[in-house]
């Protein structure tokens, strides 16, 4: 069951991500991105991380992508125009991306034991209700990164206020 879900929604995520790049209208790209987010949520769910799945849908598909669509509607953005791009990107682009992909996957695969230290991966597998596990982890072991992130978001809010304020 889990394998079938992974095959279907993993494939869907990849297809939607490709579609995101190939579509020429921004709204269609944004909708493809929504499909990617939803497929990822299903993958989290099939791994037993229900809270993460719901949060993924609420935050990414619900909040962030709605703002993307909102901005595209507000600016009434038209179809993008194709250009040939720079010569450097044309030559090094594909090999460069492949090289970075190889490097990253090498690092992740060789160091995969080190990533389990925060126990998130370990907790998600067995527990049926993992909301309390995730939250107690957030407020004990991961408190500092959690608070730093909230300060970061606060800075972004202040920036928005400064930009939106009328000139005196």
């Amino acid at each position: 069951m889990q394998l079938a879900l992974f095959m279907i929604f993993g494939g869907l995520a990849v297809l939607a991500a490709l579609n995101l790049l190939l579509q020429r209208h921004p709204i269609n790209s944004a909708l493809s991105l929504v499909v990617v987010m939803m497929s990822l949520a299903v993958l989290y769910w099939s791994l037993g991380a229900e809270f993460l799945a719901a949060a993924q849908v609420i935050v990414y598909s619900g909040a962030i992508m709605v703002f993307f669509v909102f901005v595209i509607m507000l600016l009434n953005a038209g179809e993008e125009e194709r250009t040939t791009g720079s010569r450097a990107a044309y030559i090094v682009g594909f090999p460069g991306a492949a090289a970075i992909f190889c490097l990253l996957s090498f690092v992740f695969l060789s160091e995969r034991n080190a990533f389990g230290s925060s126990n998130v991966g370990g907790y998600l597998n067995h527990v049926t209700s993992n909301i309390s596990e995730v939250s107690s982890l957030l407020f004990t072991k991961l408190l500092l990164p959690f608070e730093v992130t909230s300060v970061l978001i606060l800075v972004a809010i202040l920036g928005a206020v400064v930009l939106a304020r009328k000139e005196q």
């Binding site: 709204i27 598909s61 709605v66 909102f70 509607m73």
Partner: protein, 406 residues
């Protein structure tokens, strides 16, 4: 042959039962939606000293069927210059999400036992039930926003923009207002939320969440009305300014899909109010008052008799046949409940839950009949400067009291 069939049924029992439940629930919800439009028109009409629909069928009872047929048979034009894919996707998304959200609502405490299998009233019981509901609500903005954008026309675009801004703004207050309830229940499951309110069942309605969480309830209901785009927050379809808002360019059954989605989300919001703040299927009387279990019969039998009495004096022959028939059915149901105590006990939970849902649906209609529409800047100021701080204050107060009590 028979053996392999029973074996197949036993192996796939869960899937089959789920499919049957889904089909049944969709049928019931669509019927209730249809009669909700009748109910709304009737109640608003009587509030404004009019008769409301009364031509099609006795008391206009066949009006929903006539409306449905009209939606199905009307010409279904696609305006020139629309973005076809998104134009067709938007009403589908709106309807599908609205119908999905109702799958999480549990409608009764006890399962029906058939051939040793327990069948619960409700399609799924998730332990992140409320979060899943909010995830679906968060997605429902797309239906409106995409409909507005894809129509390639001024009024729908403005209506869609307004509506998505409104829904995004009120979603915050909506989500934060229930944190108090979640803190008290310690769970996201709707069943658990009701069971926590059942701990002091001897106190009757004073055990409900609405008393400690009155601020949360006010926030939740206001934000939910705004989220469902109903009066007084129906800015997206302010007909004096925007024709019909985001669904101006939709006609025939595609319009009906938006319509059904709106009424379905009204039902979902009413169920949530009943479950989270008003005890769900719990009776408002203390659990020891067993004589209140005859209340369903006490309501059904007089109502059925009144329908019969009203029916035999009705002016059309059709009404003189149909209305007494309906009245007899209602009276017989009431009598059956008295005659078979085990059915009566089973019906108690669903009776109270459905009664509370009906009450909140009436409140929706009541507001539509009485309140004027907000201005757009008032709407935004109300959401961000009043509801959101109120919801935050409620969270802080609830967690402080809970921490002090230990």
């Amino acid at each position: 042959m028979i053996d392999s069939l029973t074996q197949f049924l036993n192996e796939h029992w869960d899937v089959i039962i789920s499919l049957v439940k889904i089909a049944l629930l969709v049928f019931i919800v669509l019927t209730v939606n249809a009669y909700l439009t009748w109910f709304e028109r009737k109640v608003v009409a009587h509030m404004q000293s009019r008769w409301g629909p009364h031509r099609v069928g006795p008391h206009g009872l066949l009006q929903p069927a006539a409306d449905g047929l009209k939606f199905l048979l009307k010409e279904d034009p696609t305006p020139a210059g629309v973005d076809k894919f998104t134009y067709y996707l938007a009403p589908l998304m709106a309807l599908a999400l609205a119908l999905t959200s109702i799958a999480i609502i549990p409608f009764g405490p006890d399962p029906i036992v058939v051939f040793g299998h327990k069948i619960y009233l409700g399609i799924v019981d998730l332990n992140i039930g409320l979060l899943a509901l909010f995830a679906i609500t968060a997605l429902s903005v797309y239906g409106v926003a995409l409909a507005g954008w894809s129509s390639n026309s001024k009024y729908p675009l403005l209506g869609g923009l307004r509506s998505s801004a409104q829904m995004v703004s009120y979603e915050l207050a909506l989500t934060m207002s229930v944190v108090g309830v979640l803190l008290m229940a310690g769970s996201f499951s709707l069943r658990d939320i009701i069971n926590v309110q059942a701990i002091h069942a001897d106190r009757g309605l004073f055990a409900w969440n609405v008393f400690p969480q009155i601020l949360g309830f006010i926030c939740f209901f206001t934000a939910a009305v705004a989220e469902t785009n109903r009066v007084p927050f129906d800015l997206p379809e302010a007909e004096s300014e925007l024709v019909a808002g985001f669904h101006t360019e939709y006609s025939s059954f595609k319009f009906a899909m938006f319509f059904i989605a709106e009424y379905t989300s009204m039902i979902t919001v009413s169920s949530l109010c009943a479950i989270m703040f008003f005890g769900g299927w719990l009776s408002p009387f203390p659990a020891t008052w067993t004589f209140t279990h005859y209340l369903p019969s006490l309501i059904l039998i007089p109502f059925g008799l009144w329908v019969i009495w009203d029916g035999i004096r009705y002016e059309t022959i059709f009404g003189r046949i149909v209305l007494p028939g309906i009245g007899t059915v209602i009276t017989v149901i009431g009598a059956v409940l008295i005659a078979f105590p085990f059915i009566n006990e089973f019906i108690q939970g669903p009776f109270w839950l459905l009664g509370k849902i009906f009450f909140f649906l009436f409140v929706y209609v009541w507001m539509r009949g009485t309140l004027p529409r907000f201005r757009y800047d008032q709407l935004m100021a109300f959401g961000w400067k009043f509801l959101l701080p109120l919801a935050m204050a409620n969270i802080i107060a609830t967690s402080l009291i809970m921490a002090l009590r230990g």
